[in-house]
């Protein structure tokens, strides 16, 4: 009698789910510890393909007015078109140079023929270099924004179709040429 009753009890008994929460907590903590949340963001660029003969670049003659030369030296000083400049106003100057709204004859003929030339020393700080690069890229993206706003009434971004983006980029192509750095000031 007694025996039978206890076996009936055993049949009824369920698996205790009380520890389920603990197991899940353990897993949760494991994932919290082993994972990184930092997202991968950065300035994406496309490098020019490697060619053994650098002579090709030398033979290309450019009009001085179409070149916006930026030099950053090992002391992190900047020279824009031959004169000392500050990072803070590079963006405005680059924009003016590319678009040339007042048709000055010392700025680029058209956005298509504008070339930005960036050169640095081997001793230049990476932070400074990236800051300058960022400003030059920002100048282009602001111009793209203006262009897209004028043409399609929307800022340059995900609202535009790929074809529209291409159209904007065709009118103001991003041309940035980087020279081999001069071996100066490396630690």
């Amino acid at each position: 009698m007694l025996n039978k009753k206890s076996s009936k009890d055993r049949l009824k008994s369920e698996i205790n789910a009380g520890s389920m929460a603990d197991i899940a907590f353990l897993l949760l903590i494991f994932f919290l510890v082993t994972t990184t949340i930092d997202v991968d963001k950065g300035i994406s660029i496309k490098l020019p393909p490697w060619s053994e003969d650098d002579v090709q670049a030398e033979t290309l003659k450019l009009k001085t007015r179409n070149v916006f030369s930026v030099l950053v030296n090992a002391n992190n000083q900047m020279l824009v078109r031959g004169e000392l400049a500050d990072v803070a106003n590079v963006r405005e100057r680059a924009k003016e140079f590319i678009a040339n709204p007042s048709k000055r004859d010392d700025l680029s003929e058209s956005p298509r023929s504008a070339i930005i030339s960036l050169k640095n020393d081997r001793g230049t700080n990476y932070k400074t270099y990236l800051m300058v690069y960022n400003e030059l890229k920002a100048a282009y993206s602001e111009l793209w924004d203006d262009k897209a706003q004028a043409k399609f009434g929307k800022p340059y971004g995900d609202d535009l179709t790929d074809a529209q983006k291409k159209q904007v980029r065709d009118e103001i192509p991003f041309i940035l040429s980087e020279a081999e750095p001069t071996a100066f000031g490396e630690e």
């Binding site: 919290l32 994972t35 949340i37 950065g42 660029i45 490098l47 090992a74 230049t124 960022n134």
Partner: protein, 157 residues
């Protein structure tokens, strides 16, 4: 009157904890989905510079990482204090880059190989010399899509 007398009988009903595992599981799945495993231990100290023109790297499997910075304290005796390159989970030089890229490329399906990005995670204080060497090595290896890793900058210059 009868209604009030019932009160004594139903003393302290407990809050059911049966749904607690479900809540925890939900959190667990959230973290599992939104996070990425730390693939390699950082052996150089890297604090990436700030920038505004950022693009997000979408697919992690299509990105390989090149770290540049000074070796961490525990590696100083072996590798010195000058900035070094870390490829995967070991120190390397720019000469090891082609092999490193090839090893990553082999893991990616053929039609996605053109979309591979090299993420350069360099410390802000390193000089451009070492970065240029890497850029040259990448160009020689035909890896032209690169991304200078940076944090978002809130304020203007």
């Amino acid at each position: 009157m009868g209604k009030f007398s019932k009160k004594g009988g139903k003393a302290d009903p407990e809050v059911s904890t049966a749904s607690l595992p479900d809540i925890i599981f939900m959190l667990l799945f959230f973290f599992m989905v939104t996070t990425v495993m730390r693939t390699s231990e950082l052996m150089v100290s890297v604090s990436v510079p700030e920038a505004t023109e950022l693009t997000k790297l979408e697919k992690k499997s299509l990105v390989n990482y090149i770290y540049i910075g000074r070796p961490m304290e525990r590696y100083e005796s072996e590798f010195g204090t000058a900035p070094r390159i870390q490829l995967g989970n070991k120190f390397g030089t720019d000469k090891d880059i082609p092999l490193f890229l090839e090893a990553h490329r082999a893991k990616v399906s053929e039609r996605e190989r053109g979309l591979i990005y090299s993420s350069i995670r360099a410390d802000g204080e390193v000089t451009m010399g070492i970065v240029s060497d890497i850029k040259t090595a990448l160009r020689k290896a035909g890896q032209l899509k690169i991304n200078y890793s940076a944090r978002a900058r809130a304020k203007d210059l």
